[in-house]
């Protein structure tokens, strides 16, 4: 990914690469904050701008032929308007500072949300379009001196790391005759988990092997006791009554080791007929189901092992392991 810049190398190839990077920002090597200056801001007329310029050219030729002094004046007045519009379009973009704020997570096939921060030190800006390469664009206005976050979604076609990619900031304010744009390419990546299998298959039996016991727990779970709350504990296990009484934050613990039995989600236990991605999809669905049912689970993949646990942090660790699983390395 970061094959971008090798400052050591010299010669025409490196020169070419440097210029290509400068023009297209193909490599994700921008460092926050990026302030859009004349080197980054490009401006070309829009289709409407070209049509209006063609009209102006026709008007000019007409004025010349018929010796219309006021025709010249009108043509040049509108030319002045178009030129001032060019500068206003440029001003609307130049000086904007862009920084990455957060990279999101999601499932393959959905959009991964990225958050950028747009800081405007100058006068108000209008109609700034923030467009990722693979995702819908977002249009924002910025008041004078305002800083605001902007969330863009990038479609994740498959599991793994999802680079934000090159962002195009553009605007055709105020007259729509010029489009100014700038590329920003941060080395920012989110994570796409495998898409869970659908419909979700039934959960495998726990370590104790007793499906009946698990059902009993699900039906009338017996509260074994409370322990101190740790960040990341599932919401539905928080002792809300205690919280409401003002007694402090506790997490409910259910009877049985890990509450209803720890699920063993083992790669090796899956049917041999399943291929790698299908296994990941099933494991993903199971993790989500286990989380829904507030059960502890452990995850074992070739090359990585996650001890039993529960809660948001545990879930995320498990899903991330699935997302980044590389079968070549494994068994």
């Amino acid at each position: 990914m970061s094959s971008a810049l090798h400052p050591g190398t010299a010669g025409p190839a490196s020169w070419l690469r440097r210029w290509r990077q400068r023009l297209w920002r193909a490599a994700p090597v921008d460092r926050a904050p990026v302030v859009l200056r004349h080197r980054r801001v490009y401006i070309l007329p829009t289709r409407r701008g070209l049509a209006l310029m063609a009209t102006l050219a026709t008007m000019l030729v007409t004025s010349m032929n018929y010796a219309l002094a006021l025709g010249h004046a009108l043509t040049f007045l509108v030319t002045g308007l178009v030129a001032a519009g060019l500068l206003q379009t440029w001003r609307n973009l130049a000086g904007l500072a862009v920084s990455p704020l957060a990279a999101g997570e999601g499932f393959a096939g959905s959009e991964i949300a990225f958050t950028l921060s747009l800081a405007n030190a100058g006068a108000a800006r209008y109609g700034i379009v923030v467009a990722p390469r693979d995702g819908p664009e977002v249009t924002v206005d910025l008041a004078a001196g305002a800083t605001r976050p902007v969330q863009v979604g990038v479609l994740a076609p498959r599991r793994g790391r999802v680079a934000l990619g090159r962002i195009t900031l553009s605007t055709d304010f105020p007259l729509g005759l010029w489009r100014g744009w700038a590329y920003v390419h941060f080395p920012l990546a989110g994570i796409a988990y495998p898409a869970p299998e659908s419909p979700p298959p039934p959960l495998p039996t726990g370590i104790d092997g007793s499906d009946a016991l698990r059902r009993a727990r699900a039906a009338d779970a017996e509260l074994a006791g409370l322990r101190d709350y740790h960040p990341g504990d599932a919401q539905n296990r928080i002792a809300w009554k205690a919280v409401a009484r003002g007694a402090g934050w506790y997490t409910k613990q259910f009877e049985g080791a890990g509450g209803g039995g720890t699920l063993a989600l083992f790669w090796s236990d899956l049917p041999p007929g399943l291929d790698g991605e299908a296994r990941l999809a099933r494991l993903c669905a199971w993790i989500l189901a286990a989380e829904r049912e507030t059960r502890t689970f452990s995850l074992q993949l070739p090359g990585s092992d996650l001890p039993p646990g529960s809660g948001a942090i545990h879930r995320r660790a498990a899903l991330t392991a699935l997302a980044l699983f590389a079968p070549e390395r494994g068994s």
Binding site: L52, A67, A69, G85, L87, A123, L155
Partner: protein, 678 residues
């Protein structure tokens, strides 16, 4: 994979309102120049779409058929109205209606953009007919609305934008663009002639023509239109000597006078007489004559600033014919300014033998007039005595000078001289020349303008179409001499103008009347403003552009040098404007400015501020680098933190001063670098 932009939303009410405003302000100035049904159709279509929802007008399928049918029907109508189609006026009329039709069917913002372009071009077309100050003034709103419509089309649909904000923004951009527009107006090369066709081919002609029949000049005299304006170098000549020579007519067919077909070159006879010099600003009339006071002693040369360094005199605009007309090679299609010299006199030497031969032709008709002339000549001792007796006869008999003579029939001169005896200058000139020719004296009709009004505002002379006149010339002893039979009938016409000469109740054009009411005064002031407008703006042509070059000392400049200069100025304009925008919006509050100055100085000295770093953290880092300035640096940091993040209290001023003082007393970047402890 690229995300295609969302399918364009249909035009909203706001879009439609802006576009309607644009179309109407583009159409409105053309109303007076177009046939009524075209004007009404074009604007009616616009109003129909604006007032009625599109669905109510007609279902979509019907509209798809209806609109092309309408376009074709209008094209046929225009062809019938004008008698031709591929010319300027019908095309303007068609564009006018087409803009209305386009507005009726416009659905997407893209079509809206096309409509904006069409409307802009339509705005230009009014200048074919009228380039007055008023025309210029009513174009400004159109440009404002153009900007507003563009802004509305650009904005995301549903965004609440009123009328005011886009108009104000456009006005601001217009003001920013005006220097550029002015520069382009001055430097953009003008053409001396048209690129194609004859620009005024279908335009109206006005003023005098090369034929004269009873009624033609009197019709002209009803017009207040300005024929030309004159600036005199020195006092203007007295009214009785203001004979502006125009077309000379020597062939008579019994009803109508015509010019001789071939115009030989003429020479200026006597150069020794005292001459007066003046500058004529001729309104475009699509005729080849340039006007000069009798008798011209120079060719008209285009107006240039007096410049001793240029030895080559500019090329004259016209040549002199043997009968002393100033003929341009092409019709005067644009406002033309020329310097002219004349020796005021009523006679000049004949050009040659042919003068006598060409000017004795008689029609076969009008035998009573011919017989009367021969009888009168027989009684007179000499040609001069005969002419005197003819003029005396006009004066003594009951001839009436009137703009509304009774219609003549048959032999028109006989009818006029012996029956009706009521006529305008063309009747008298025509009859007079015929009488002289019948008596064997070569004579011809001269048309032109007689008189002119001094405008006290601006001190120049206005000659109007109502000053059009016809007089006569007779060849006596090898010299052409001017005789004005109208003067024998109505001397006040020559001395005081048309208004004084005509009897009460005649339809004298308003500005030819004598009473100087305040309204007429106002009109004269307005004319003075218009004159300046004509000279400075509308008349800005190749000549005037060269004047500007000469004034700037750039006449030797190569085109590429001019281009480079223009490019430099445009660049300077852009930078200046961006600088202005930056100054207006980018001004920091004083505390921040001082703090930024400190940051820049320390950065140059090798300690740039991290973006995450607050004032206190940065100050602390600086004190570690420059312990000797630690107290000062701390004070700066603390004061700035208080100013920026603390409450705005009574100590604000004091802190600000301390901050400024602190930054000012810190040594400069080089000294800091030298004393850095690292």
């Amino acid at each position: 994979m690229m995300f295609a932009p969302a399918p364009a939303a249909p035009l909203s009410r706001t879009h439609l309102a802006w576009l309607a405003a644009l179309v109407l302000v583009a159409q409105l100035p053309l109303w007076v120049h177009l046939p009524l049904w075209i004007a009404a159709t074009g604007s009616g279509l616009t109003a129909a779409r604006l007032l009625l929802p599109a669905e109510r007008l007609a279902p979509a399928r019907l509209r798809r058929i209806l609109l092309p049918v309408m376009a074709i029907a209008v094209a046929i109508g225009i062809r019938l109205q004008f008698g031709y189609f591929l010319a300027r006026d019908p095309c303007v009329a068609y564009l006018y209606v087409l803009v209305g039709i386009k507005y009726l069917e416009a659905k997407s913002p893209r079509e809206g953009g096309l409509l904006v372009c069409l409307a802009l071009f339509l705005t230009l077309t009014q200048f074919f007919y009228n380039q007055s100050i008023v025309a210029a003034a009513i174009t400004l709103p159109a440009v404002l609305v153009l900007g507003g419509a563009l802004a509305a089309l650009r904005a995301t649909p549903g965004a609440a934008t009123g009328w005011r904000a886009p108009l104000l923004a456009t006005a601001r951009m217009l003001v920013q663009g005006i220097p550029l527009a002015f520069l382009l107006f001055i430097v953009f090369p003008r053409l001396a002639g048209p690129l194609w066709g004859s620009p005024m081919a279908s335009g109206a002609r006005s003023g005098l023509s090369d034929t004269m029949a009873p009624g033609m000049i009197s019709e002209l005299s009803l017009s207040d239109a300005v024929a030309f304006r004159v600036d005199f170098n020195g006092p203007p000549p007295p009214p009785t000597l203001r004979y502006w020579r125009g077309p000379v007519l020597a062939r008579f067919n019994g009803i109508e006078w015509r010019a001789l077909p071939r115009a030989r070159e003429g020479t200026f006879a006597s150069q020794g007489q005292p001459t007066i010099e003046y500058t004529v600003t001729l309104e475009p009339n699509n005729r080849p004559w340039l006007f000069a006071l009798e008798q011209a002693t120079s060719l008209p040369v285009p107006v240039v600033e007096q410049d001793l360094s240029s030895t080559a005199s500019p090329r004259p605009l016209a040549r002199l014919t043997y009968d002393r007309q100033l003929l341009a090679s092409v019709p005067v299609a644009q406002s033309t300014r020329y310097v002219q010299r004349s020796a005021l006199g009523d006679r000049f030497a004949a050009a040659g033998e042919f003068d006598a031969r060409d000017n004795l032709q008689l029609p076969r008709s009008n035998s009573r007039t011919v017989a009367f002339a021969r009888e009168l000549r027989a009684r007179a001792a000499s040609d001069r005595a005969f002419i005197a007796s003819v003029l005396g006869w006009f004066h003594d008999e009951a001839f009436v000078y009137t703009l509304a003579p009774p219609p003549l029939s048959g032999d028109v001169v006989d009818d006029f001289l012996f029956d009706t005896r009521r006529g305008f200058c063309e009747h008298y000139a025509s009859a007079f020349v015929l009488l002289l020719r019948a008596a064997g004296i070569p004579a011809r009709v001269v048309t032109g303008y007689q008189g002119g009004e001094i405008n006290p505002t601006g001190n120049y002379m206005i000659v109007r179409d109502s000053d059009a006149h016809a007089w006569a010339e007779a060849l006596l002893d090898g010299v052409w001499q001017r005789f004005d039979p109208t003067a024998a009938v109505a001397p006040s016409r020559i001395e005081r103008g048309l208004g004084a000469a005509l009897p009460q109740g005649e339809p004298v054009p308003y500005l030819a009347r004598l009473d100087m009411t305040w309204l007429k005064n106002l009109r004269l002031h307005w004319d003075a403003v218009n004159y300046q407008w004509q000279r400075g703006v509308v008349g800005f042509n190749v000549q005037r552009q060269q004047d500007v070059w000469r004034d700037l000392g750039l006449e030797e400049a190569r085109p590429w040098q001019v281009m480079a200069g223009v490019a430099a100025i445009v660049l300077a304009w852009g930078l200046a404007l961006l600088g202005l925008i930056h100054l207006r919006h980018g001004r920091l509050e004083p505390a921040q400015a001082s703090w930024m100055r400190l940051g820049r100085r320390l950065a140059r000295a090798g300690l740039p501020r991290g973006l995450h770093e607050g004032p206190l953290a940065y100050a602390q880092r600086a004190t570690m680098r420059w312990p000797q300035w630690s107290e000062l640096l701390w004070r700066i940091g603390e004061n700035y933190a208080q100013l920026r993040y603390g409450p705005h209290d009574a100590r604000h001023r004091e802190r600000l001063d301390a901050l400024r003082e602190g930054v000012a007393s810190l040594p400069d970047a080089r000294a800091l670098r030298a004393t850095s402890s690292r």
